[in-house]
């Protein structure tokens, strides 16, 4: 029976978080309602009339679905082989596959643009995804589909981003499955064929994990806007549509049309994503249950080192995961030099000098890095305990048979992922303006949206770990006469410690790369983060050839920091742990 103080404490955290994560949206919606004089239902029904809305919805659904499918196609073989065999540098491999997930979108966009431009291998191989000549152009002409090359580039970039989802969900399951399950199946009538084994064993065991990763992948691709802006400039997703008009929304008697668009689009997006989230949380629950039945001894030991096919697959994935980041870093050393005799490229450190000295902006890279770390650590200090308490509350509700409440809270913690970053920013801006304008002077204000967006991930990582801790560990410890603290430590915490480190590094990395939600918040130059710095430089006119490489230099620092955090986290992740997100 939990103590009263524990219940009160939990209640406080839960209520505070739910309010914090939903109030901005509610507030923004209320403001939009008053500005547009329509109810949310009316806004929903008027959605088709908002200019570009239907096209944006159609495009968003198409690209998000295609991205999810491609993520599974790319990621599943990698996850399979990674889990199946014993790899020498497993830690490094896992870290590299995890890093894409937290890369800032603008850096990724630049990296992919470099990979598909006219100097790229892809172009030389005849696949022009950018200017859409050759095969792509012919296809466009024949089918009447404008910009198939851009679409392809976009979904490949999304698949790259979300690769780690499928690997993190599926690989541990494959790695830890008792070989007896597979052996038994191969000896039964229905298990004689590959199809039989897929249908009767692998799909039931891995299916929930794959679907969970796919639905999360759908969600993240759905809310993408920076990648869409750069890779598919002729199209809009709902989010990029809202981003275009978000700056002038929510103001009485001023550009009411933008308020209408933002209101309608955000409701439609919210409803679709809510569905995706509900599905995700159901699937993850099912996945956790299946997973709890596997053995302690993995299959890897019995399968040994990887086969040739496995190596090809995983190493190809490794190169794919690194390629955009390497491309972006390399671009920081390449300086263009145009004279009357033509344009040449030289290799040099000028951009790095400019970045470190802060010549082209209000901040140097080192100052921006310090700011990024301050925000990141601030976010961690709040998000980790809050997420932990939320996860353990959900778990406590589950184990005490309050399944409905558990489910409701589970979905509630995911809600911020369904809410457009624009709405979060707008809501925070309006809310703070209304009630506490002095809060704007607080330079740490961006931590608020960072916390809102990272807590769901902490919960997603901690919750399955908590579900899989056997109560017998604690019982054994108490029966041995250990005091409550040691009982908690040996019987519980030591099993949660690994996931907590993973959650921490993820939170730090997300905070480092995030700028979307803070987009609408007033930004004071001296508190710019690395991602804001990259974005600022990339948005500038690039007459000066140093601008772009300097931005890439800043991006490289960001990437290295994120990468380092992940390597660190992987050391703490226990072998074959079923983390997932």
């Amino acid at each position: 029976m939990p103590r009263n103080s524990e219940v009160v404490g939990r209640g406080f955290v839960v209520i505070s978080y739910v309010m914090l994560s939903t109030l901005p949206f509610v507030y923004a919606m209320a403001r939009l309602q008053s500005v547009t004089s329509q109810t949310p239902l009316e806004a929903l029904l008027n959605f088709p009339e908002a200019y570009g809305a239907i096209d944006a919805l159609r495009f968003t659904l198409l690209e998000a679905s295609a991205s999810a499918i491609l993520t599974v196609l790319f990621g599943l073989p990698i996850a399979w082989y990674l889990g199946r065999y014993q790899w020498k540098h497993a830690t490094l491999l896992r870290a590299v596959f995890s890093v894409p997930f937290v890369m800032p979108a603008i850096v990724v966009a630049m990296g992919f643009l470099l990979l598909i431009d006219q100097q790229s291998l892809l172009f030389k191989a005849g696949l022009d995804l950018r200017t859409e000549t050759g095969v792509i152009g012919a296809y466009a002409q024949r089918t009447g589909w404008s910009h198939p090359g851009h679409f392809l580039a976009l979904i490949i970039a999304h698949a790259w981003f979300n690769l780690s989802l499928i690997i993190r969900f599926v690989e541990p399951t494959v790695a830890r499955l008792d070989p007896a399950w597979e052996e038994q199946m191969s000896l039964l009538g229905q298990g004689q064929s590959t199809y039989g084994r897929l249908r009767h064993l692998w799909w039931p065991v891995l299916g929930p994990a794959v679907l969970c990763a796919a639905s999360l992948s759908f969600l993240f691709s759905f809310t993408s806007f920076a990648l869409v802006k750069w890779l598919a400039p002729f199209n809009h997703t709902l989010e990029s549509l809202m981003a275009s008009y978000g700056g002038s929304a929510g103001i009485a008697n001023y550009r009411v049309d933008t308020s209408e668009i933002v209101m309608s689009a955000s409701i439609v997006q919210f409803l679709i994503l809510l569905g995706a989230l509900y599905l995700t949380s159901t699937l993850q629950r099912r996945h956790s249950n299946r997973f709890a039945l596997v053995s302690e001894h993995g299959a890897q030991a019995s399968r040994g080192p990887p086969t040739f096919k496995a190596k090809i697959t995983v190493y190809a994935g490794f190169v794919f995961a690194l390629a955009p980041m390497i491309a972006a870093s390399t671009a920081s050393f390449r300086i263009r030099n145009t004279t009357d005799t033509g344009t040449r490229y030289t290799w040099g450190m000028e951009a790095w000098d400019a970045a470190l000295a802060g010549n082209l902006s209000t901040l140097s890279v080192t100052e921006a890095l310090a700011n990024s770390m301050i925000f990141a650590i601030g976010t961690l200090i709040i998000a980790l305990p809050v997420g932990w308490v939320l996860a353990s509350t959900i778990h406590a509700l589950e184990t005490s048979n309050h399944h409905r409440f558990a489910k409701a809270l589970d979905v509630a913690t995911l809600l911020p992922l369904a809410i457009s970053a624009i709405m979060v920013g707008l809501g925070v801006l309006l809310g703070v303006l209304k009630s506490m304008p002095s809060l704007f002077q607080w330079s740490l204000l961006p931590i608020l949206p960072h916390v809102i967006l990272t807590v769901p991930f902490v919960v997603r990582i901690m919750l399955p770990a908590m579900r899989s801790v056997d109560p017998k560990w604690k019982e054994q410890a108490s029966v041995l006469g250990l005091n409550p603290l040691r009982t908690w430590y040996h019987g519980y915490f030591s099993f949660i410690r690994g996931p907590a480190v993973v959650a921490s590094s993820l939170t730090l990395a997300f905070s480092l790369g995030e700028f979307g939600a803070s987009w609408l918040l007033v930004r004071t130059g001296s508190w710019d983060t690395l991602s804001v710095l990259v974005d600022t430089l990339m948005s500038r006119p690039k007459f000066d050839p140093l601008v772009q490489p300097t931005a890439m230099a800043a991006a490289t620092v960001l990437m290295m920091l994120t990468f380092f955090l992940f390597i660190l986290a992987e050391r703490f992740r226990a072998e074959g742990e079923g983390g997932g997100f």
């Binding site: 191969s186 000896l187 039964l188």
Partner: protein, 212 residues
């Protein structure tokens, strides 16, 4: 002399230079139940895994009388591997080597369950079964493929004494009724005596001829 269904000559198996066994010989006749008696860890399970093809032997010959070869071999693991996402009937159905109609399938499964005194268990969840019930169902499933040889890898060791005795006797009766040859490995002499026509000590497998 009965015709043999399985002949093993000079079989050897090592794992990473550690020899598990070598020079192993065994002959199994049709309808015969042989119990191999040996302590834990001596290599009994490895032998069975080599016979069914889960491991590859390093040396020696494995000759099946039937053309089906390893396909005609059934296997019962130490722990009953019943899939938790399927109910009892669906688990059993995995054993079919052909594709019977739904009606035929249901009839067969019902009949099989009745034969082991588990009528009505079709839609039960596997988590709700006792150890003995689970192992009987695993046995049913293994037999559905109509194997010429059934390999039993200490399948009853986790059960309590009473259950073990009754299920061992039941299994023997059942195998005899279906004319199925079997190799049963165990460390328990009583169990070996109960089930087998012939008990072979592990060490005897390495003489030129097996002795009783």
């Amino acid at each position: 002399m009965n015709e043999s269904v399985l002949e093993i000559n000079n079989l050897a198996k090592s794992f990473d230079d550690v020899c598990v066994f070598s020079g192993l010989n065994l002959r199994l006749d049709a309808n015969e139940i042989v119990a191999i008696l040996g302590p834990s860890g001596c290599g009994k399970s490895t032998l069975l895994r080599c016979i069914v093809g889960l491991e590859e032997s390093d040396q020696g010959e494995l000759t099946f009388a039937s053309k089906r070869g390893t396909e005609g071999v059934g296997y019962l693991f130490q722990q009953p591997i019943l899939y938790p996402h399927l109910n009892v009937a669906s688990n059993i159905a995995l054993g079919f080597r052909t594709k019977p109609s739904k009606k035929e399938r249901q009839r067969t499964i019902a009949r099989e369950l009745e034969s082991v005194e588990l009528e009505g268990f079709e839609s039960r969840r596997v988590e709700s079964l006792s150890g003995g019930e689970a192992q009987r169902i695993a046995l049913l499933r293994a037999m559905l493929g109509q194997p010429e040889v059934l390999l039993l890898d200490e399948p009853f060791s986790a059960l309590d004494l009473e259950t073990r005795r009754s299920i061992t006797a039941q299994t023997r009766e059942w195998l005899k009724h279906r004319n199925t040859a079997a190799i049963h490995v165990t460390h328990d002499p009583e169990e070996a005596e109960l089930i087998a026509d012939r008990v072979v000590p592990w060490a005897a497998l390495f003489d030129h001829r097996e002795e009783e």
